[in-house]
């Protein structure tokens, strides 16, 4: 570089003198890393689509959604999917009945009532609860909760594997999700709203229930939807404590297989590639993926919407 060139255009010396190919290369590598997540979704969809299409070329949609006997692994096989859908919904419902009140109450306490000290102790413990492997919850449900429930409520006539204790434990599993996401939503509510409420003479309880919770409502709903999707897809607890029997029943005392439990059962067996039981895994997997994907999408949109309000 000659000095006169610089002097002629003084502004130019500040601008980028030469393209930095290294910087472009780095940006490209980073973008590729980010695209791995897209590849994952593409991979999941690809893995599901082809065997699912093959499945429905052999089993009609009418058979799949039009009957209530499920037994793809039996001879003769039956492909009425409703028993495992109903079981999934029932166990999810039990879990939500447990987790929403407890999780929401814990969130209100941590966000509105707890001193910083209490919060500093309680939040890590909730994180530990969130980190307990689901196979451990399953073990606890099968060997502790079910015998306990049999002891306390003999009139329920619980089977040794049943939807009730599986659902209860799935509920406990999702408490931390409901609690921590709702607490985030409540903490994001500006203090001005609380002060306004106090200034009008409202008590702490009234402020929490009528001001903070409604203001954080979309965030709370998003947390609950995410928890529902987690519960619906949970595998190990339902496989261990809920069992693999698929009968069309609503009685939570009975053994029942959810969609995830069926996938686990058929997938861990030795269904030969290309056989109908093998393809059934993917068909049920598609159904589960579509259900949870829809719920996750709604949840993510609600979080986005609520972010717009308070930032």
């Amino acid at each position: 570089m000659s000095a006169p060139a610089n002097a002629a255009a003084p502004g130019k010396s500040l601008a980028r003198s030469r393209p930095r190919y290294g910087e472009y290369l780095i940006k490209a590598i980073l973008l590729i890393a980010a695209l791995v997540s897209i590849a994952t979704t593409v991979g999941i969809v690809t893995a599901l689509v082809e065997p699912t299409i093959e499945f429905f070329s052999e089993v009609s949609l009418g058979q799949f959604f039009g009957s209530t006997t499920w037994g793809p692994l039996f001879n003769p096989p039956a492909f009425g999917v409703w028993p495992i859908i109903v079981a999934t919904l029932e166990i999810t419902l039990i879990a939500i009945i447990v987790a929403v009140p407890l999780g929401l109450a814990a969130a209100i306490f941590l966000s509105e009532y707890a001193t910083p000290r209490v919060r500093r102790i309680c939040k890590p413990i909730l994180e530990v609860l969130a980190g307990v492997p689901t196979v451990v919850f399953g073990f606890f449900a099968l060997t502790f909760v079910t015998p306990l429930l049999k002891d306390w409520f003999p009139f329920l006539e619980l089977e040794s594997k049943n939807a009730l204790s599986a659902g209860l434990l799935v509920g406990v599993m999702i408490i931390p999700i409901v609690a921590s996401l709702s607490e985030d939503a409540m903490t994001a509510v500006p203090n001005g709203l609380r002060e306004g409420s106090f200034a009008l003479g409202a008590s702490k309880m009234i402020t929490s229930v009528r001001v903070v919770v409604p203001a954080a409502f979309s965030g709370i709903v998003a947390a609950v939807i995410l928890a529902i999707s987690r519960a619906a897809g949970e595998t190990m607890i339902v496989a261990i404590a809920g069992g693999f029997k698929s009968v069309f029943t609503l009685n939570p005392a009975d053994e029942m297989a959810t969609m995830a439990a069926f996938i686990a059962q058929a997938g861990s067996g030795d269904a030969s590639v290309g056989s109908i039981p093998y393809k059934t895994i993917f068909a049920v997997g598609s159904l589960l993926f579509i259900m949870t994907f829809a719920m996750n999408y709604v949840s993510a949109r609600m979080v986005q919407k609520y972010r717009e309000v308070y930032e």
Partner: protein, 296 residues
Amino acid sequence: MAVLSTPKSAVQLASKGRPLKEHLFRIALLSSLAIALIFLGMLLIYTLEEGWGRLNPMLWENMPSIRRPETAGIQSGIFGTLWIISLTALMALPTGILAAIYLEEYADRGRWYNKIIELNISNLAAVPSIVYGILGLGIIARWLQFGFTVMTGAITISLLVLPIVIISAREAIRAVPPSIREGSLALGATQWQTIWRQVLPASIPGIATGSILALSRAIGEAAPFLMLGAATLVRFNPEGVWSSFTVLPLQIYNFISQSREEFHVLAAAAIVVLLAILLVMNSVAIWLRNRYQKRW
């Protein structure tokens, strides 16, 4: 005037009329939290009590068996888990952290493809783990023909924890204030020099915490491995990435599935080992966060 002569403090005014209800509400909230915590305590005590009798060196020195619960161990599960976690750390952590750097430092958030990447990551974080098992079975084991090997398991579980790594690394990077970046850029550093010398060193504690939590999720995961042939009884330690394998949580699942009572004791002992590993990892993560968390 009587109205003016009786001043009351704001607190008295606020709680006027409903002291009992207020107290009950507070107690109800506190007990909800307490139920969750007591439950965790009960679970830990019960498992420890159940498994206590089998917490001896035989547990980690012997191979699993479904015939002799009194001498069966979990060594192949422990080694399998170590293999899977090491490979997952090698694959998922760099990829996740690089993706997080892209999304926080380079991506123009208005662009449609960046929006899709973001939405996609939050969706993936909530996809059921059994569906990742289907991905591993259909694509990695069958289509790529990696078979039921350590490699297949590690790739599957890496993809599963990747969204968690990305989300937590992004939070850590976002916590570094823009003024640090602007200062570095003003001194003539390029964007990558700024990231490498200023942003990353400042966000390492946060990234490490998130990474440890993501790996502990991977250690406890069992469902995807059910689909990957790890459910069968494996009586040897993996010899390489193309060896077949089992992992600790699946070993536990196998013991639980046995009908004899002794196997439940064995399962409880194995759970104690698993929980001990996870508790140590969680504690390190929480300690790191509290120790190095910087308030800018």
